[in-house]
Symmetry: D2
């Protein structure tokens, strides 16, 4: 079964985040990974479009119960009808999670991925979390460029 990598990020994003997500999707698909995303716009649509450009398979795990809001470029759209509870599914499906940019929904996916604790979690930009004493929390790998993010998953030697 192929490797599956989740690309998470806000539905409304900066141009820079869009570019990062597109290139990340492209690089993942070129390596044979299935790209899992939330199926909406912004970072999600960018990752799907990038993966598609490289001939890859992309799955959008939608919060709605139908496919009306699905981004173009998805190979499969899974309308869960679970609302934001679908974020857990995106994370569970992944051999690695790459987070591009920041939003509250995105942060929930980052936190759920770290809570799961079994796969690499990589951030490209986005929000930062500090403990009660102001120290940055360990565990998330930070990358500056898509190729570094993909490499940081450790899935390809």
């Amino acid at each position: 079964m192929p490797v599956q990598v989740a690309v998470c990020g806000p539905g409304e994003c900066t141009e820079r985040d869009f570019g990062h997500a597109h290139e990340t999707g492209r690089l993942l698909a070129a390596r044979g990974a299935v790209v899992i995303c939330g199926g909406h716009g912004g970072v999600m649509a960018a990752a799907a479009a990038g993966a598609r450009a490289a001939g890859g398979i992309t799955v959008g795990v939608l919060p709605e119960a139908d496919r009306a809001a699905a981004a173009p470029g998805l190979t499969v759209a899974l309308p869960t009808g679970l609302g934001q509870a679908r974020n857990t599914l995106i994370v569970n499906a992944a051999d690695a999670v790459i987070v591009v940019g920041g939003s509250w929904g995105t942060l929930s996916e980052l936190a759920l991925a770290m809570r799961r604790g079994t796969v690499p979690v990589v951030q490209l930009g986005g929000w930062r979390i500090h403990d009660q004493d102001g120290h940055p929390l360990g565990g998330v790998v930070h990358a500056d460029r898509p190729e570094d993010a993909v490499r940081a998953t450790g899935l390809w030697p």
Copy 2:
């Protein structure tokens, strides 16, 4: 976006049901449909294998939170971690639902598909439901052969 059809049925099934599910998967994939199933054995594995044999894409929506129990032959395995609540997702993802054989889990999928009420639901064999007065309930289309089941979805003229 391609048509998506769910094939539902028991994880332990008769040889006849296995054959029906395999042929149904094959016919669906040959028509370009993505086959959605529960990702386990029996009817689910048969539908996935049939679809794969025709070069199609299959998605297994698993009850577990990991992919350990995924049937071989799936293009994508989505470990939901939702238990039997994942049955709703299989039904929500489908432009038509084909039910092969009978079990309590399978019946829940049939009932959820009829509850949703917006897509064709076709049964190949399996259990029968009667109202309080002993009359068969309408709404489900019954087919005897895979080609009839696929035709009864109305998705292909």
Copy 3:
């Protein structure tokens, strides 16, 4: 922790089913059980009202993400935002499941309860399920009156 019993049934029901559900809720609460239901109208509202009349605690597990559609008389309304996937939660929460009347949603709850396989499932009226050869399926206990249904749970000697 108190005993928890689910009362499942259609949101639009006959007067007879309404009466059955109300009396079932009342009897359960009088025995100290928490009554779990789907939180909407019909059988669900009747069971909640009956339980409340006996001073009991009722929990409505709603498909919506907010409490706007909650039946009056619930002690707690849990808006799951899961749609019909919430049916699994109702069943999982119960030491016994009593099904009053029939509908496709109700049938999915009956099937999920039987699929779970660990607690008594009792039907008061409602639909009947037959196997492929036309034989009634075993496992569900049928009762004619609320007091028989409550007794058939086996929770009270």
Copy 4:
């Protein structure tokens, strides 16, 4: 229908967080609120115990499909079988969310509450989130003492 307030926090917590959660639960129950929590130990058990000490009703929304891991002191235990997807339900059920202490699971609840965007979110200690430029993110109210946290919900004048 009574006010419902979620108290979220780690299953393993400091003594200080335990005390904060217990007192928060007590104050909420004394004001007539139903206390919703994750149903496990640490902050969750403390909030439930505090609410119970004040004669209140507490609901534990468990990740597991059964009640084996339920904290003592819960009025109702709802075993969702959804894993961490249950975090969304806790947040959806609340008229206000009070977060005590920090963990990845707790952060996902905080993020989901902010993502929902319709109810007050108050933190007692715990982690801090900064945007990409290092600025603290607005929206979450920070409190130092349980009575301040309860007041900050704005639910009681």
